[in-house]
Symmetry: C2
Subunit: 436 residues, 2 copies
């Protein structure tokens, strides 16, 4: 199976655990078969490979998510990084070109596009695998998987099939309806459009060449910024006459709000939490190093991270957006390709950061124009390079790095550093990278 996973949506709907940099698919609230915490992207990877060990997985994503994916999945997947955000048609096209021109996938092979974020059972990916067989039959240019609705939702687009069978031609697509209209669709055996599309790679590339002028993956990448922002649904699906849909009747959940996430997360509490006996139907997630005590909480979600603390009635959790938007956008916890970065103190002209790296991880060689840094190694051993001079550093060592000075560190063991940044304009933008 060739799967393109769309990993988008740097949303804040699961604030304070999701933010502009850390999307909800990277929050570890699920558990794998060994009982270890895993994120949605890790869960999806595990589910796909349990159905098809040989699956080739390409994740289409933004630059800001690439580090987190690399940190969570290592080199087990290919990452197709969009130079900038341009909606799903350009993203899928870029990945398709990548598969053809860089990964050598044949035009006759089937490719399935799936979003990374619904919460599903393994059965879902067994159905996804069946799409490959349907594409091979070549009875339609596009094959979709539609989800059998569990209620007349206003939140999803609908696919109206011609027949009631497991696989059917598509009669038409409908935008998000009101509840009354949705009820009528349900009587017509309509399906939710869950964003799962399967096609022969060659079909999509031909289609794309008729719409966008480009030569190959690298050319498309260079032109990416100039592409029109348009969804795959509008650009391709709704215009395609030869199209069929397969019913999926298993479990499928959109975990876009805390209310929904609370239903599917592995444990009612995570982290340092004490809950008294009078709490009811309440989930508490604590990523901070402080204890949380909850007493008498009913139907609530409480979530705490270095970005902030949310205390909400479940019903209200879907209305969080305007309040989160009032808050500063600076992410206080960031998963980098070389480890994690947690802001532990902010003052007018200084910021203190905790850095953790795993053995083998290495930062880029870089400098800052407007800040000095003081690094104290609090555990582990590494090799630091400061203005070309290499030195081994161990627990207790202190590095003073003046503005303009080029520096990096490679973790030889797991490595923890406390970094004090000093300057009048401390910003994540203040960074130059260099080759070593």
């Amino acid at each position: 199976m060739n799967i393109i996973l769309l990993s988008g949506g740097s949303g804040k709907r699961l604030w304070p655990l999701s933010n502009d940099i850390r999307s909800k698919q990277f929050i570890k609230l699920f558990r794998d078969e060994q009982g270890n915490y895993e994120s949605m992207v890790q869960r999806v990877y595990r589910q796909i490979t349990s159905v098809d060990k040989e699956a080739t997985i390409t994740i289409a994503t933004s630059k800001s998510q690439a580090s987190a994916i690399k940190n969570q999945l290592g080199d087990k997947v290919s990452i197709c990084v969009e130079p900038c955000r341009r909606d799903t048609f350009p993203a899928i096209l870029l990945s398709a070109a990548y598969l053809h021109d860089e990964a050598g996938v044949d035009e006759d092979e089937c490719v399935v596009v799936c979003p990374v974020d619904p919460y599903v059972d393994d059965e879902y990916y067994e159905s996804v695998e069946k799409l490959e067989g349907l594409v091979a039959k070549n009875t339609a240019n596009l094959t979709l998987m539609g989800v059998e609705p569990s209620y007349p939702s206003e939140k999803y687009g609908y696919i109206i099939p011609k027949g009631n069978g497991d696989v059917s031609e598509v009669l038409e697509f409908k935008e998000k309806p009101d509840t009354e209209t949705a009820k009528k669709y349900l009587e017509q055996k309509a399906l939710w459009n869950a964003g799962v599309f399967a096609f022969r790679l060659g079909f999509l590339l031909e289609k794309a060449h008729s719409m966008v002028e480009f030569e190959d993956y690298r050319d498309l990448y260079a032109k990416y910024e100039n592409l029109q922002k348009i969804s795959f649904d509008y650009a391709v699906v709704e215009k395609e006459p030869s199209i069929q849909v397969m019913r999926y009747s298993g479990a499928w959940k959109d975990v876009g709000t805390w209310n929904m996430m609370a239903e599917v997360m592995a444990d009612d509490i995570k982290g340092n939490v004490i809950k008294d006996d009078t709490c009811e139907n309440t989930q508490i997630i604590n990523e901070l190093n402080l204890p949380i005590i909850c007493m008498g909480c009913k139907d609530m979600v409480i979530a705490a991270s270095t970005d902030g603390i949310l205390v909400t009635d479940k019903e209200r959790s879907g209305y969080m957006k305007p309040y989160v938007e009032k808050i500063s956008n600076d992410a206080m916890y960031v998963e980098k390709s070389w480890g994690t970065y947690t802001v532990i103190d902010v003052q007018t002209n200084s910021m203190t950061v905790k850095i953790t790296m795993s053995a083998g991880q290495e930062m880029s060689y870089h400098s800052h124009d407007y800040r000095d840094e003081v690094w104290t190694i609090v555990s582990g051993q590494g090799k630091a390079i400061v203005d070309g001079m290499e030195q081994v550093v161990r627990t207790g060592d202190v590095l003073t790095i003046a503005a303009g000075c080029r520096h990096t560190i490679k973790a030889e063991t797991n490595l923890d550093i406390i970094e004090v940044q000093l300057g009048e304009s401390i910003s994540v933008e203040d960074k130059h990278k260099f080759d070593m």
Copy 2:
């Protein structure tokens, strides 16, 4: 007026804002006449001195609270530090001896003892002042102020007066009753025993000499550890035949739980808090540097500090004790005589602390056996002494202080330091003090 304020109770009933070191009387949730935040101890000081500018105030307290009092009130009050905790009779006796032998108060002067923690109006201290006149009349050895009950409480002791007048002889004292019994007391015009006692200093010292063998304040201080733990009520008040009580009918509130504190605190929210329109009857106090968003909270108190986060239904807030006791006792925020100390990160063999000092403040000259420290000056200027060597330090300077090394710093301007402690057994006990 000579007032002895009893500042005890290092309780956790207002956790996470109060802890073993920071008592509830130091939490700044009230506002003074200029609108600045003030603590209970600051409020009481302001109220007493607005009634009597010349009042001599002595605070009887433990060693652990002395720093916070000094930090909040400076040299405006005398602090009579108990060498160890021995209940209210020894504490009052030590302060009385201090007034006589150290402060030179005459035996014929009146002394009034008040607890520091009830929430009252200025009117309360106007009544306290009247006690002085009653003591001067010399119609009784002890004069109490009793609070007119607002309901038949089970939480307080009762004073049964002989008559109904403003001042009356005391018939008897009653222990905390059940509600039914309390109702009968109310019919007898009984008063709550609020722990306010007035007497001629000479009376108390004579009484004390008949019960405890001591020469003067210093001798009593030296013997303090051997004194019996006993309350002033048991040791003196309930045995005294010549005793009268004055009625106080004004406002008086015990702020021993979050439910009660929520009623009297100056603002419904304090700190970085966003509350949506669907929150009702909810108070939120945030001492952290993170935002808190609250949505749909009803009848709750939410309080966050570096010690932890409390999310509680108001009714439940009185039942917090067993849950707080499960939590580590290490205070993460401490008010020292030389400034404040906030733990911002804890790892296995390191701890990172933010230190703030005001201009002029100075630490003791000290060393640690089992930890190294790295100090980064993040703002301000000070004079550091490390193993006898004096140096001026400024923003950006780094001091590396090895275990065993003697050190101190004096703030020449307001001074902020990030201190990284490194060692396998980091503890507040690991400290030796030296003369300079």
